[in-house]
Symmetry: C2
Subunit: 357 residues, 2 copies
C-alpha cells in the first residue's frame, strides 16, 4: 500500500504545445520535472518545463540525447514518426506504448481493431484507387465521408461525399494518400470518456462529457453529459476494454456517438485530450496529473467529480474575449501563451464552474 514512489523522475514529452504545457504544470505539482522535445524554438510548454530540446523528429542524435536524459517518455500528439520511436525506445520506456500509437495513427487500422474487439463503429472501407472508392460507396452508401487514414485532426483531411459529388475530383484532392470511407452515423450527441490505466492494470475513468464541435474543432465539452446511467456504464466498459486490449499505460480519450442502438466508437486518442480539460476545475486529480501519475507508476486519482463544468475553447480571435471572461467569477482561465493569433489556432480555453447537483 505504500510502495516508494518515483520522486526524481524527469518526464520526456514529445511535443510542446498546450497539452505538453499542461502536462508540465501537472508534473510540477508532484515535484517531478519535464523535458520537452519539439521542433519549434519557443513552444508553449517551454515556459513551464525544466528542459527543452529543439530539434526535428528525424534528428537521431538529439532524440538519443533526449531519451537518455529522462526516466520515461510520453507524447502530446499521436502523429510522431515511427522512426523516432524506434530510436527513443532503445533508451527509455515510452508510455503509452507503441501499439496504441500504431493503431491510433491510422483510421483503418483503428476501426479494424475496434471491430475485432466487438465494439461498434461507423461502417468503413479502405480506399486507395477510384475503383476502391466506387466499391466502398456501393457498400456504405451516401452521404458518407472520405478521410485520410493518417495525420487528420480537427476536421482536416476530410471530405464529405453526397449524391452530387465528383468522385474523381475528390480522390485527386487526396493526392495518393491512403484513405478510408466512413458511413455517416445518426447520433443524438457525441460524448468523450477519459480513462487512465496504470502499469499494474488499474483503471480509473472520469465522468463522460458531452462535446459540441464548430467547424470541425471542439467548441464546448460539458459535464455531466445528458446520458443515462447505463450509457455511462457502457462508456466506461468500452474504454476499459480498449485500454486492457492494448495493455495501455496513461490517459486515453474515446469519443463516442450516442445512438438509439447504443454507443458507437468514433475515435480514440492515446493521450490527454481537449475534451478532458474540464477535469482541471472539476477533480482533485485532473487528466494531466492522472497521466503523469500513471506513466511514472504513482497511484491514480479516482476520477471523482466535485463540480459541474463547461469547457469552452478560445480559437483564434476568441482570445480577445479574455478581458470579459476575466470578469466572470465562475470562469477559470487557461491561456496557452501563444503569441501568434491565427484563425483555427487553439489559443486557450476556459472552464465555467457551477456546483454539482
Amino acid at each position: 500500500m505504500s510502495e516508494p514512489l518515483e520522486t526524481d523522475a524527469i518526464i520526456g514529452v514529445l511535443g510542446g504545445g498546450q497539452l505538453g504545457r499542461m502536462l508540465s504544470v501537472a508534473a510540477s505539482r508532484l515535484g517531478l520535472r519535464t523535458h520537452i522535445f519539439d521542433p519549434a524554438t519557443t513552444p508553449p510548454a517551454a515556459s513551464v518545463a525544466d528542459m527543452l530540446t529543439t530539434a526535428p523528429y528525424e534528428d537521431q542524435v538529439a532524440l538519443k540525447a533526449f531519451a537518455k536524459s529522462v526516466s520515461v517518455i510520453t507524447y502530446e500528439f499521436e502523429n510522431i514518426p515511427v522512426t523516432a520511436f524506434d530510436c527513443l525506445g532503445q533508451y527509455a520506456p515510452i508510455r503509452p506504448g507503441r501499439e496504441a500509437l500504431r493503431i491510433s495513427q491510422d483510421r483503418l487500422i483503428e476501426k479494424t481493431f475496434l471491430n475485432e474487439l466487438g465494439l461498434k463503429t461507423a461502417s468503413y472501407a479502405g480506399v486507395e484507387t477510384l475503383k476502391d472508392l466506387e466499391l466502398a460507396l456501393i457498400k456504405i452508401g451516401k452521404p458518407s465521408i472520405l478521410k485520410t487514414r493518417r495525420l487528420g485532426y480537427d476536421g482536416k483531411g476530410q471530405v464529405p461525399i453526397s449524391a452530387k459529388s465528383n468522385h474523381k475530383e475528390i480522390l485527386e484532392k487526396f493526392a495518393g494518400q491512403k484513405a478510408i470511407l466512413e458511413g455517416f452515423v445518426q447520433f443524438s450527441r457525441e460524448i468523450s470518456v477519459i480513462g487512465a490505466r496504470s502499469p499494474s492494470g488499474n483503471i480509473a475513468c472520469f465522468d463522460p462529457g458531452e462535446n459540441v464541435h464548430r467547424n470541425g474543432i471542439l467548441h464546448t465539452a460539458t459535464v455531466p453529459a445528458r446520458i443515462s446511467k447505463s450509457q455511462r456504464t457502457d462508456a466506461v466498459l468500452i474504454i476499459a476494454k480498449i485500454m486492457n486490449a492494448l495493455e495501455y499505460i496513461g490517459v486515453m480519450c474515446v469519443e463516442l456517438f450516442v445512438t438509439p442502438s447504443g454507443l458507437i466508437v468514433n475515435e480514440i486518442a492515446p493521450r490527454v485530450h481537449n475534451s478532458g480539460h474540464w477535469t482541471q476545475n472539476g477533480c482533485v486529480v485532473d487528466q494531466f496529473e492522472q497521466h503523469i501519475r500513471a506513466i511514472v507508476g504513482w497511484p491514480m486519482g479516482d476520477g471523482s467529480r466535485h463540480n459541474n463544468v463547461i469547457t469552452e475553447n478560445l480559437i483564434g480571435s476568441d482570445i480577445d474575449q479574455v478581458g470579459v471572461l476575466a470578469l466572470d467569477k465562475n470562469v477559470a482561465l487557461h491561456i496557452y501563451g501563444k503569441r501568434d493569433v491565427q484563425p483555427g489556432r487553439k489559443m486557450g480555453h476556459f472552464n465555467r464552474v457551477s456546483p454539482k447537483r
Copy 2:
C-alpha cells in the same frame, strides 16, 4: 468593463522558492511568463519559470538586467535588502510597493503602524539594551516573548521570557540585533485572512482559515475557520483597512488571534502565504493567480470558496508520507521538487478536499 488586458507581461519574481514556483504556475494559466531572480542555481521555481537569473541580491548589474527584462516585479518573501529595491525600482514597478515591505520587514514598525490604524495588537516595546528590556518587562510583564525586529520567520529569532529567565543571557543571544518584547496574547485560535487589492483599489478576500502551528511552523490551515459571521466580517474589515492604508497592490496575508475582546493582529505578510494554499483546491482563482492578476492589473477573482479544505504541510521527512497520501482520493498533492530533505524544511503540502456544507 472590458479594458484590454496585459497579455504579454513578463513577471519578475524575487525569490524562487515554493511560493515563486506556484506563482509561476499561476502566471502560466493566464498565458504570462515569469523571470525568477534567486541567489541559488536551481531554486524550486526554476523548473516552471520561463527565465532564471542566478545572482546575489547585492549584484546591481544583475538586478538592473533583470528589472529591464520584466514588466512588473514582485517578491515571494519580505526580507529582500532595501538596496536591491532601490536599484530595481528605477526600471520596473514593484508590487506590492516599498511601503508594505518597509513595514512588514520590522516588527516594531509594523506594530506601531497597526496601532496607529486603530487596530489591536499584542502589547509591545522596542528593546536594544538590558535597560530597555527591564523597562519593557515592567510595562508588559511575564510571560512575554522577545523577538528580533527583522528577519525572523517560522519561529526563528524568538525567545520566550518567563519568571525564571536570565535577561542578560537572553539578550546576549540577540548579539546586538534590535529586538521587540511582545506580551503574550490569550487566544482561542489563530486565523489567517488572505486578501487582494487591485491598482484601482478593488478588494477581494478569501474565507479566513484556521491555523495550527507545530514547532513554530504552520502545520495545518482549515477552511472554514470556526468563527462567527461577525468575526469573519471583522477580519475582512481589518485586512481592507491595512491594504487601503498602504495603497497595496497584490495579495496580502494577515494573521489574527481570536480573543474574547475581538480580533488581535499578530502579523502581516505582504505576499502569498502558506495559510492560503487551500485556495488551490477551493477556489476558481487561487491566491497565486489572484496575486498575478492584481499586480498586472487584470480583474481579480471574488474569493468564493466551493469546497471545504484542510491544508497540511509536509515538513522535512513528512515528505515520506507521499506514497500513502497519493492513495487518498480526496488529497491534492503539491510537492515543491526540493531534492535535499532537511529537518524543518517545507517540502510540499497537501489539500484535503471535502464538499462545502
